[in-house]
Symmetry: C2
Subunit: 248 residues, 2 copies
DNA sequence: CGTGGCTTTGAGGGAGGTCAAGCGCCGTGG
DNA sequence: CCACGGCGCTTGACCTCCCTCAAAGCCACG
């Protein structure tokens, strides 16, 4: 949320998915191969499935706030979330966006380390803390998967650091587009059209810039025929150019 | 290294510590309680100790480069290291400094994700990949410790992101000082005098600023009586002020 | 049709980058 | 012993990129 007011509102409780009260079907889950569930043995997957609860949140709902007791782990099955922290002075830094297949872990200390809310309507697989930790204690392979996931997050955080520390506004925006495109390609067929569900304010708070700079930079790239701005995303017309900028 | 020339030089092989060829003594290790070794059972610690080799590097030596096959994990026992990545265009981003007690893990994919070199002379406990992974496979508790370590690194990376994305030069420098002070306090008694073994260039590449800005900002803080610049560090004279800046 | 939220665009200013010069320290060699 | 050169650090002058402030456009929704 851009306005801090809604951030401090108490989060709504998660609720079961209306369209799917009966449980999950991991075998046919489309995020199966990219999520924490990948590379699990059949029995492990079955055990995980048995404790999974489908839940959903409407756009702009808050799942939890930084410091909340972590009652559950989640796998995103559809929609987009933003993870962020708020400073005392109301500045917000988005530390990441979650797309289908991404995972929200229960930290070692049992608290969430960031706030999370839904950008679009989202559906998730919810794993209650008690059952999940019991399962992890039982299956070292699942712990190994958690470790793997943490390392991937670390890698992504370092990429973020590189972007914020070394790149210009233009390079950051290009990097953001390419990055988002590649992550979408994990579950959707690769395409030059990148859907952008988040607002300019979200992008700005992710890249450490202002909305005006985001807007101006996108306009400039469009004027230079490198991209085309669409209602809910952009089309990368000059792929090589944008990729070069992103890698700079 | 500030100059890219030395970065691409082949790394020297690690060598046994001259002063301690006979092995390690974990029970009396001063970083024992803050490192990966903390919270291990006696038999686990003994197993870890049995595969540990003390090694050392002189200042400015490179341990490994990004992409190198990860032949070993390490625990730092003394000295300071920098971890960094280099862009194509020679820009360098330092992603972290390693102090005594810090750990270098073997990534899941078996490659190092960043370059590492010694800022001052360093000593480390080296754990060969084969023996270490065998031990991890055998002791789920050690895997859990690795997971914990990865989460701590993640936390520190997010703090870094906050700093780069939201803070001014002055705030970043204050944050750097407080952060360094607190990390030193893990092994040394807490003090207002913060040793700074790294160069201005290192600090700049860590904070996403230039050496000139680092220098100017420190000078300004000193002129304002908030700190005192010492030969190899700074003394934080106005602790409250610097802490307020750091938290901003 | 009016209102409010999000976005775009413009004008102006400031924080930090760039370029350049100078200082202090230290190791080397005359 | 001092002269010299190199390196890291500091300081100054200037400039640029991005932020700030402001206004207007666009679109959804009541």
């Amino acid at each position: 949320m851009a306005d801090p007011g809604s951030v401090i509102a108490f989060p709504p409780p998660s609720r079961p998915c209306a369209h799917d009260g009966a449980g999950t079907d991991c075998e046919h889950c489309k995020v199966r191969l990219v999520s924490i569930c990948a590379a699990l043995a059949h029995d492990e997957l079955a055990a995980l499935e048995s404790i999974a609860q489908p839940v959903c949140f409407a756009a702009r709902e808050t799942l939890f706030l930084e410091g909340d007791a972590a009652n559950a782990a989640y796998t995103v099955t559809s929609g987009t979330l933003r993870l962020y922290r708020i400073f005392h002075n109301c500045r917000r830094q988005i530390v990441g966006f979650l797309l289908p297949g991404d995972f929200i872990a229960i930290g070692v200390d049992g608290k969430y380390r960031y706030c999370a809310d839904a950008i679009s309507a989202v559906t998730l697989c919810r794993f209650g803390k008690r059952e999940f930790t019991a399962l992890v204690d039982d299956k070292p392979n699942l712990l190994y998967r958690l470790y793997d996931t943490a390392e991937q997050e670390l890698e992504s955080a370092r990429e973020h650091i590189m972007a914020l520390g070394q790149r210009s506004a233009r390079e950051r925006v290009a990097w953001f587009l390419i990055h988002l495109r590649d992550r979408c390609a994990r579950v959707d067929p690769a395409s030059d059209t990148v859907p952008i569900p988040m607002s300019r304010q979200d992008i700005a708070d992710y890249l450490g810039l202002t909305i005006e700079t985001i807007s101006r930079t996108l306009s400039k790239l469009a004027r230079d025929k490198a991209i085309e701005i669409l209602p809910n995303g952009v089309k990368v017309t000059d792929v090589a150019r944008i990729e070069r900028l992103a890698a700079a």
